[in-house]
C-alpha cells in the first residue's frame, strides 16, 4: 500500500517522528505490530525496513499512524528526507502485538533509545483501558544527548532517566536501575514489565523478571528479509518448555527439531512481541 506522509519531524539528534495517513486502510495496527517500509527507490538500500507502530491517532474521518525512528544507515537516512504529501510504500500491520492485560495496577516500561517507540503505543493502550494504572517509564541511553522524548513520556506516567555515563539521571544501565527501584521498594515486586532495546539488556531484564516474579513482555528487533514469513531470516531460538500461545496472538511459524528439543521462531510472524521468559537469550547471543 502507498500511504501519504502527513509529517516527518526531527525530534532530537538523529531521531524523527513520521506520520502517515492510513485512513484508506481497513486494517488498523495494535501496539507492538509493525510496518515494513520501502526506504529508497533504487536497489541500494535493497530490503524494506521494519518500524513498529508508535502511535495511532484517530480523528474525525482520518487515521494517523506515527512511527518513531533513529537514522542509523542508508535506509533511515532516505526516510528522514521524505516530505509531507510524498507517498511511502509500506506493508502492514504485521506480526503479533502486546497482550494488554486487564486490571493491572503497576507497570514498568523499560526502554533504551529508540526502543521507546512501541512501548509508547502500549502505554497509551494501557491508559485507555484503565485510567488508574501507574505507569513507570525507565528511559535512557549511552549519554545525555541520546536521551529524548522526556516531555512526551511524562504524559504516560512517572519517568526515570538513566545514562551509562551518568550525564543525566541514574548512572548506570536500565537493568541496574530497575533492580535498584525494586530492591528499594520504590517499585512494587510483581509489577508488569514491558521492554524494548538491545538483546543483552533484555536478557538481564528477563533474569530480574524471574527473580521478582514480574510478568513480562518484550518487543524484539532483528534484520528481516521480507517481514511476512517467507524468507526465514529473522529466526530466533525459544525455550521449548516456556512457549506460550495466548489469545489473540498465535505462533504460526515455530519450527521444531525432530526430537522436540530445539525450536526456532520467526520474529516477523510469531513476534515481534514475546513473553520475556520464552526467548532463549543465551543461545541467541552465543
Amino acid at each position: 500500500m502507498m500511504y501519504p506522509v502527513l509529517e516527518n519531524k526531527n525530534m532530537s539528534a538523529g531521531c524523527y517522528r513520521l506520520a502517515l495517513d492510513i485512513s484508506a486502510d481497513s486494517r488498523l495496527p495494535l501496539p507492538g505490530q509493525f510496518y515494513n517500509i520501502r526506504c529508497g527507490e533504487t536497489k541500494d538500500p535493497l530490503l524494506r525496513r521494519p518500524f513498529s507502530m508508535h502511535r495511532l491517532i484517530k480523528t474525525k474521518g482520518s487515521m494517523r499512524l506515527e512511527i518513531l525512528y533513529r537514522v542509523v544507515g542508508k535506509g533511515t537516512e532516505w526516510l528522514s528526507r521524505r516530505k509531507k504529501a510524498q507517498r511511502l510504500d509500506a506493508i502492514g500491520p504485521l506480526g503479533n502485538g502486546f497482550l494488554v492485560p486487564e486490571g493491572v495496577q503497576d507497570v514498568a516500561m523499560v526502554a533504551r533509545g529508540i526502543g521507546i517507540a512501541p512501548l509508547y503505543a502500549l502505554g497509551e493502550a494501557l491508559r485507555t483501558k484503565n485510567l488508574e494504572v501507574n505507569i513507570h517509564v525507565l528511559m535512557g541511553a549511552r549519554y545525555a544527548d541520546r536521551v529524548f522524548y522526556e516531555e512526551e513520556l511524562k504524559k504516560l506516567g512517572e519517568v526515570y532517566l538513566y545514562t551509562d555515563d551518568g550525564s543525566v539521571g541514574y548512572h548506570g544501565r536500565a537493568p541496574q536501575l530497575l533492580l535498584h527501584l525494586l530492591e528499594s521498594n520504590r517499585l512494587p515486586r510483581g509489577l508488569d514489565l514491558y521492554a524494548c532495546g538491545p538483546i543483552p539488556m533484555l536478557k538481564e531484564l528477563a533474569q530480574i523478571a524471574e527473580r521478582f516474579t514480574c510478568p513480562g513482555q518484550v518487543a524484539l528487533e532483528t534484520h528481516m528479509g521480507c517481514g511476512f514469513g517467507a524468507c526465514l531470516s529473522c529466526a530466533i531460538p525459544l525455550k521449548a518448555e516456556a512457549i506460550q500461545d495466548r489469545e489473540p496472538w498465535q505462533k504460526p511459524a515455530l519450527q521444531w527439531s525432530d526430537d522436540g528439543s530445539t525450536v526456532y521462531s520467526l520474529i516477523c510472524k510469531d513476534g515481534p512481541v514475546y513473553d520475556i521468559l520464552e526467548v532463549d537469550w543465551d543461545e541467541w547471543l552465543a
Binding site: P45, G225, F228, A230, Q255, D258, Y264
Partner: protein
C-alpha cells in the same frame, strides 16, 4: 497482431502458461503470498527445499544486507517431508498452477527417498534438486561441486521418478558447463541457475561475521545478476535441455535479458521480499514488451543474443 502474445513454454513434461516463477526459498510454501497475489497466474510455484526430517536451520543472525544484495544463511529450515505432505501440499488443491517441489538431502539415498515419495504425489508436477547441500558422506562437501557425485545423484533420482526433474546448479565451480552436461547426460529435463554464490560480510567494530556463527551466507539480489546472466549464457549454449535463469531479477527488463542470453524461463527470488507482487508485474511487463515489439511468442526471443 491478433490476440495477446504467447508466453507459454514447455519445461520437460511441464506446460507452463508463462515463463515466470518464484525461486525456491523466497516463496515459503506458497501460502505466505496469498494476501498479495493469485498463485494461479504464475508459470509455476516452487516451494522451499524439503528434506526428509524437519530442520530448524541456521543459528540466529541469519541475514544482512550488502550493496544491492541480500546475504543470508537459512540452513534449509523446513517442516520436513511428512509435515509438508500433510499440512502444506493440500493448500494447492484447487489452485490451477504447476507445482515444483525443491528437495535436498545429506546423502544420495535421502534424495532418492524424497524423489520416490514425491513421485507418488499427484499434485507434485516436478522436482527441483537442490544440489548445493552438504554431503555428509563426503565430509560436508556440497554435492554440486563434484561432477561424479552430481552424475550419480541425478541418475539415481531419474531412475525413481517420471516427474520432470530440474537440477539447480551452483555457480561455485570452475566450469559450470561440465556440470550442465553431466546433468543432461544423467537424464535431467531442465537446469535452473544460479543458486546463490557464497559470500561474507564483517562487522569491523567487533571483527565478527555479520552472520554470527554462520560466518558465510548465500548472496542473492541484484548484485548477482551479471554473474547469473553470464553463466546462463554459457550453459544454454552447451546443453539442449531448457535452462531456467535465476539471479537478481527485479523487473520485466531483467527477465528479458535472461531470455535473450538463452533462458527458457526465469525464477524471481529476493525481489519477492521487496515487492511481493513482482512476479505478476513481470508477467504483465512481458506482455507489454512483446505486444510493443510485435513478437508473437516469447520463445522467439530465447537465445537471440547477437
Amino acid at each position: 497482431m491478433n490476440g495477446s502474445p504467447d508466453l507459454s513454454v514447455q519445461i520437460g513434461g511441464l506446460q507452463l502458461k508463462n515463463p515466470v516463477m518464484p525461486a525456491s526459498g523466497t516463496f515459503g510454501y506458497g501460502e505466505e503470498y496469498t494476501d498479495f497475489l493469485d498463485l494461479s497466474r504464475l508459470g509455476a510455484v516452487i516451494v522451499k527445499t524439503i528434506t526428509l526430517k524437519p530442520r530448524t536451520g541456521s543459528y540466529p543472525h541469519r541475514s544482512t544486507e550488502v550493496a544491492s544484495g541480500f546475504l543470508a544463511s537459512i540452513g534449509l529450515q523446513n517442516v520436513g517431508v511428512e509435515h509438508f505432505l500433510r499440512e502444506k501440499l493440500p493448500y494447492f488443491d484447487g489452485i490451477d498452477v504447476p507445482l515444483i517441489v525443491n528437495i535436498g538431502g545429506q546423502s544420495v539415498e535421502e534424495y532418492v527417498a524424497l524423489a520416490t515419495i514425491m513421485n507418488a504425489q499427484r499434485r507434485v508436477n516436478a522436482l527441483e534438486l537442490n544440489i548445493s547441500c552438504p554431503n555428509v558422506s563426503k565430509g560436508g562437501m556440497h554435492f554440486g561441486i563434484d561432477p561424479e557425485v552430481t552424475r550419480e545423484l541425478v541418475t539415481r533420482v531419474r531412475a525413481v521418478t517420471e516427474k520432470t526433474v530440474i537440477v539447480k546448479l551452483t555457480p561455485m565451480v570452475s566450469d559450470i558447463r561440465l556440470f550442465a552436461e553431466v546433468c543432461q547426460e544423467a537424464g535431467a529435463d531442465s537446469l535452473s541457475l544460479i543458486n546463490a554464490p557464497l559470500g561474507m560480510s564483517v562487522d569491523v567494530k567487533t571483527r565478527r561475521s555479520k552472520l554470527g556463527r554462520n560466518m558465510k551466507g548465500g548472496l542473492t539480489g541484484p548484485a548477482i545478476k551479471p554473474l547469473a546472466l553470464y553463466l546462463v549464457h554459457q550453459v544454454s549454449k552447451s546443453v539442449d535441455i531448457p535452462v531456467i535463469g535465476i539471479g537478481g531479477i527485479s523487473s520485466p527488463e531483467d527477465a528479458l535479458e535472461f531470455f535473450i542470453v538463452g533462458a527458457s524461463a526465469v525464477q524471481v527470488g529476493t525481489w519477492n521480499f521487496i515487492n511481493p507482487r513482482i512476479t505478476i508485474e513481470i508477467i504483465q511487463g512481458l506482455h507489454e514488451y512483446l505486444s510493443e515489439h510485435k513478437i508473437r511468442a516469447f520463445r522467439e526471443l530465447v537465445g537471440t543474443l547477437l
